[in-house]
């Protein structure tokens, strides 16, 4: 029986920039930051109240995972906002929206009450998009 999700990957264009975005804008915490040799780095972050979910910020570089052509295609797809990676939750959507906007986070959908909940959409610095929902009381 599967009980938990503890790692998930988000492909990013630049790990330094992603580190700044997820830590200084979203307010996440670094879980593990390990240099893995020239040009390689294992970087995981976690939401402040979910320390056991590591979001791996994976650089899209030519190497074992991506051929040169695949890396180019993947970078283009990410930049274009092709991928939606998940749903984050907050206690108060309007306040979180105002805070993230003040920090320069780009929203593609302002907070709106939908039949499934109160939701906004934002993009990370690479182009990946996420839903942001308010915790249901």
């Amino acid at each position: 029986m599967i009980t938990k999700l503890n790692h998930v990957s988000v492909f990013v264009l630049d790990q330094d920039s992603a580190h700044d975005f997820y830590i200084n804008k979203l307010g996440f915490k670094v879980h593990t930051d390990a240099p893995m040799g020239p040009g390689m780095r294992w970087l995981t972050v976690c939401p402040p109240e979910q320390p056991d979910l590591e979001i791996s910020l994976m650089a899209i570089n030519e190497g074992m995972m991506f051929s040169k052509e695949s890396a180019k295609q993947m970078r283009e797809l990410v930049s274009k906002g092709t991928f939606g990676f998940g749903v984050f939750e907050c206690n108060d959507l309007l306040a979180t929206y105002e805070e993230l906007k003040a920090k320069g986070v780009e929203f593609t959908k302002a907070p709106k009450k939908e039949f499934y909940g109160f939701e906004a959409l934002f993009k990370d610095d690479s182009g990946n998009w996420f839903s942001l929902g308010e915790k249901k009381s």
Binding site: E98, E99, P111
Partner: protein
């Protein structure tokens, strides 16, 4: 955005929260923050707590402790950490840190230094194998040793 009631209240509270995030190291007077937000102190505290589930004072303490954890991980001397995050005395910092984190600043710093050294020495212990293999990081620990 659709018009939600009292959005201007949210903006003022958010600005106060961001003020704490930026000025946590200073001697912040919550009365001043309430004034900045154009609220009475009690109205401000009530609204702040409704949004962030913490009073402004609790939130400020939390920010200082989190910043202290980051500085301690960077191996900065405890006294320097204490004053640089806005605490006025080492005993009060140590006591509060231990109450919130569960370890003294010194023990936390030692624990983090040990963890950092272990990650540097054996990074593959901290990376699920599927990710490591995909990146070709299969025998890195042996190479680093």
């Amino acid at each position: 955005m659709e018009q939600y009631p009292k959005i201007y209240l949210y903006r003022r509270i958010v600005q106060a929260k961001l003020f704490i995030d930026e000025q946590f190291a200073d001697n912040i007077d919550l009365n001043n923050i309430a004034n900045e937000a154009y609220f009475s102190k009690f109205h401000f505290i009530r609204l702040f707590k409704k949004i962030y589930n913490k009073t402004p004072h609790q939130y400020l303490t939390g920010v200082r402790i989190e910043k202290a954890k980051i500085f301690l991980k960077e191996d900065i001397a405890i006294a320097d950490v204490c004053y640089s995050v806005g605490f006025g005395s080492i005993p009060s910092f140590t006591g509060l840190f231990k109450r919130i984190v569960g370890l003294t600043p010194s023990a936390y710093q030692q624990e983090q230094a040990k963890l950092k050294a272990d990650i540097a020495l054996q990074p593959l212990k901290y990376i699920p194998n599927c990710f490591a293999e995909n990146n070709g990081w299969t025998d890195l620990s042996l190479k680093l040793q």
